[in-house]
Symmetry: C2
Subunit: 252 residues, 2 copies
DNA sequence: CGGGACGTTGAAATACGTCAAACGCGGTGG
DNA sequence: CCACCGCGTTTGACGTATTTCAACGTCCCG
């Protein structure tokens, strides 16, 4: 979330590739300033070091979790960060690499932009819009955990994951790569591993999704949407654009 | 949340009283610009009309809930807004007066400030800080719902409510006025009314809180904190200040 | 071949939800 | 003044979703 990529800056050298900036809504000069400094790779399970200065980091590949631990070891993954998302720095949550991960330190400009002081107006607005989407997804998460059944939660979660990945070009059709262990997913949706497992089985039995080996296919998306009461978090304006160019970054 | 009041602008004519602005960290000129236009009163149960222009509204008295309804009638109150909080405008949540409520339309300046474009730097920073606190509380809510037992949730919720009210001078000691029905509270903490009721009884039996008639007393705060794993959401810097002047606004 | 993650399964425990009724209480109207 | 609501709280009995515990299967990797 806080995904700059989803904002008109489509693609970049995020992956070591050239800027792809199709139909970028941001002035070239500003885009230029977005050039990223350093790309680090972390292994699954590692905690990301806390951001030293005021830099902003961008998740280039893999999945990062905002993890909150309780005293007795219970774990809640407050939110997931997917490729293209910025990595926030919250005080009580730890950022943990849930898969192998590539992180790019944004140029200081990004930090200043976060300050909402300097930087260009359109970029700043995009930033704000992304933050708003972020918060909306957080609210979704609250509703999921507070009022939805295990079945609904899981469906809703998968729908969200799919949509977010599709946004950044990591899901062409109804299937996508989501290399998370069931334990991780259970900590996202607030269930025990065992029950999540059983819930996934129900979803499969009902022909709604098929999930194996980290590959998920939404076999019956309309029905899933119905069940979960899912509503897209992305303004139509954005959905129209795509297909986002930067791909294949979830795996490695 | 997004409480401007908690930011150095201590007190105001929010209640029709004089500005009290002790040790305000904001320039008088900026403060001046904060003057509020119109104060409306709404009855419990009423939904606040959606903000027409780009105005920002401030909750002066009473409690407002950010309510999300599911198709089948289930209700989740994503967050509570207490006196001094700004009223956000989210797409999927409805703002509902949970008690009799007083709302003030902020001057257009506030709107511009929300844009993070114009307005003074300190005010803008305060705004951002408040937004950060807001999000932190939202994360707390996620953890509560995702990984805490009914007992812990309720304790945690009461602690948060107490602290927030104390921040704005609506709780001197360990007791405070929280005129919410158990049904409302149950929709905040994601429990059934019946179960919330029983949970409150346990809390009473254990001598941790006493709650009757909308008046809550944290009889054993340290123990509650321990149980709920509660951590304050307010930076120490703020806590030092107080006692906030504007009072008695929860009731009416 | 052994070990370690991860997924799956079964049986039993429990936390929480649902249903339905009763209670208390302030308010209203006769 | 009393009777009769309506609304919120409380209680009991019961149903069920979800957790816990413990074991087993499987795949991968050394």
């Amino acid at each position: 979330m806080i995904s700059v990529v989803q904002h008109g800056i489509k693609g970049s050298e995020l992956l070591g590739r050239k800027f792809h900036a199709m139909r970028a809504r941001v002035a070239p000069a500003t885009l230029e300033a977005l050039r990223l400094d350093h790309v680090t790779t972390l292994e699954a399970g590692e905690a990301l070091p806390v951001e030293p200065k005021g830099l902003v980091r961008l998740l280039v590949a893999g999945v990062v979790g905002e993890v909150r631990m309780l005293a007795d070891g219970r774990r809640q993954i407050v939110a997931l960060r997917l490729p293209g998302d910025a990595l926030p720095r919250s005080e009580r949550e730890e950022l943990v690499a849930l898969t192998r991960v590539k992180v790019a330190d944004g140029a200081p400009l990004m930090a200043r932009m976060a300050d909402a002081s300097e930087a260009s107006r359109p970029l700043r607005l995009g930033w704000l819009a992304a933050a708003r989407i972020d918060e909306a997804m957080l609210r979704d998460q609250v509703v999921r955990l507070g009022r939805m059944s295990a079945f609904e939660r899981t469906a809703h979660f998968l729908l969200e994951a799919h949509e977010r990945l599709a946004q950044v070009g990591l899901a062409a059709d109804a299937s996508f790569h989501l290399p998370l262990t069931q334990e991780v997913m259970s900590d996202v949706v607030g269930l025990s591993v065992v029950h999540l497992n059983r819930t996934l089985q129900s979803l499969r039995r009902d022909g709604l999704v098929s999930a194996r080996q980290g590959y998920v296919t939404l076999a019956n998306r309309p029905e899933l949407v119905e069940i979960a009461g899912y509503a897209s978090r992305f303004p139509v304006a954005w959905r129209a654009n795509s297909p986002a160019p930067f791909a294949a970054s979830l795996a490695s």
